[in-house]
Symmetry: C2
Amino acid sequence: MSRYWSEIIKNIEPYTPGEQPGDKEYIKLNTNENPYPPSPKVLEAIKRAADEKLRLYPDPNCEELRTTIARYYGLKTEQVFVGNGSDELLAFSFLAFFNPGKPILFPDITYSFYEVYSALFNIEYKLIPLDDEFSIPVDMFLADNGGIIIPNPNAPTAKYLPVESIQEILKCNTDRVVIIDEAYIDFGGDSAVGLIQEFPNLLILQTLSKSRSLAGLRVGLTLGQEDLIEGLNRVKNSFNSYTIDRIAIAGAVEAFNDYAYFQEVRAKVISTRERVAISLSEMGFKVLPSKANFIFVSHPTYHASILFEKLRERGILVRYFNKPRIDNFLRVSIGSDEEMNRFLDVMRELTAIK
Amino acid sequence: MSRYWSEIIKNIEPYTPGEQPGDKEYIKLNTNENPYPPSPKVLEAIKRAADEKLRLYPDPNCEELRTTIARYYGLKTEQVFVGNGSDELLAFSFLAFFNPGKPILFPDITYSFYEVYSALFNIEYKLIPLDDEFSIPVDMFLADNGGIIIPNPNAPTAKYLPVESIQEILKCNTDRVVIIDEAYIDFGGDSAVGLIQEFPNLLILQTLSKSRSLAGLRVGLTLGQEDLIEGLNRVKNSFNSYTIDRIAIAGAVEAFNDYAYFQEVRAKVISTRERVAISLSEMGFKVLPSKANFIFVSHPTYHASILFEKLRERGILVRYFNKPRIDNFLRVSIGSDEEMNRFLDVMRELTAIK
């Protein structure tokens, strides 16, 4: 604690990202990264962009990237905003659409950064408890509120909410913004993007970090009607005019252009996930149905905190949250087939009847 | 105006960056970019970093880059923080060190983004008028306040404040943070970095956008004692865990390693600036003494707004601020010798006695 810190940061509990240890080589199943490299065309585009133009500022409006994404989704360029990863987009969205005084709603078990943004920007919130199966209770998002944020699929549960349920929430909340955080949507769920023209209160967030294997490049996007996008622009232009560098813009454009590669990679991740889920179920694990690039699992006999430590000792990192209701679960990112075979072997060993 | 916007963004006036027109090729002297390309070693490092590791998140703590910068300045790694350009660092600093209720101080003529941050984060401020020669009136920064921010050299005046004056301000403000924004320090001024060990209230901001020709890469840095840096970390980890991508980290490290190239480029810019200042003085312009990569000039006969338009018609972009006290000045970035020769030719033509 320093006497120079503002009142806000004295009292805040920052987010803790998954560890990136440097002590030895781990099988990293702890930060939901994609096991496959980015498209070779993305890497080529980045190399081409490494030229003398780096002396110039990037396009502050990222026109080329926004137009590329708009075309991909059948939207207008003015319905697309891009930022430095979906975390920055979340921060901007909290500033742009939520006010102190009227609580926003989000699930009790969800991306823990939402609580941090609320604290940073002095936004009250009310946690909506997931039901016993860790599903989103749609009814509870129909009460009066100052805004809503729901990840779909949810994290860390991996559970997916059908678009019809989102539509129901949108219909009952026409006066406030409903943010659907689709960071993991490309792994089997349907995006709510088709609802944008009908619902001026819908803002969708996505990222290139997961399905497009570009966590290291820091690009995310939001989709919504023009005045929501304009609201985000007002925040950006009051914060940092240029949040995406020239290199990242070039790489991100190519990531959307190389559709075939994207399809191939996400199909591989989905296929591995299904196989791993079956194997873990056979070992006695409860595996929540996943539409993400990770699974959320619990064993009736072996406690998650013990499994977490033992996996780590054997060179495998997963994520463990010591929080109510989920403190006997592990979040396991889907790695390559080779990595997951090793993971399954270790899990078999750890849960074998002695 | 949208019913979905928060109260803050409804009432904010965002910053307007210098234009990046696409209609034709301009001589761009309007955004203080460096006319020389980045070091070839930077471009090589970026190409090397365009590999499959982009699927992984960057190091959230940017250890390698911070250690490189610390070594360069003779500081500890824990005394260095890095971010997505100095604008992001300014935004984080406002959140980390300034509180609502007690006004912060900055000059009346300065980087206009400071007022925008104040509005965004609800921080009151008091403008300290520059004196008649556009110098910082040190005495007026000794009164009670909630924090101070001073660019050195100042923008858009280009005027430099000696380190002794900064020391005086630091001594009288031991209970609050004094931010010295050194975006332009490498063009002839002395950094206040040598004061860090003595003053726990000093935070220095710098950027790679200007002297290191990397506006397109988005990297800035702050230097200060450990608990100020920790304060910035608390904000970052409550906002976006990874603000600098893998590529930008790799390029920025090399920018600090290639000291010879950096020296060569800044010497060229300084030399061109001095020559251009003399030529403009000979045409009757008032040229404020500059330690930046731009000059701030005014003509007794030809109004700045007219010159601005006529330069634009002739394919030369400079910056004009229609604001009290400076509405008869132009801010002119220092371009290459060739660009500045063309600029001087046009200026001679525009100010020739008919």
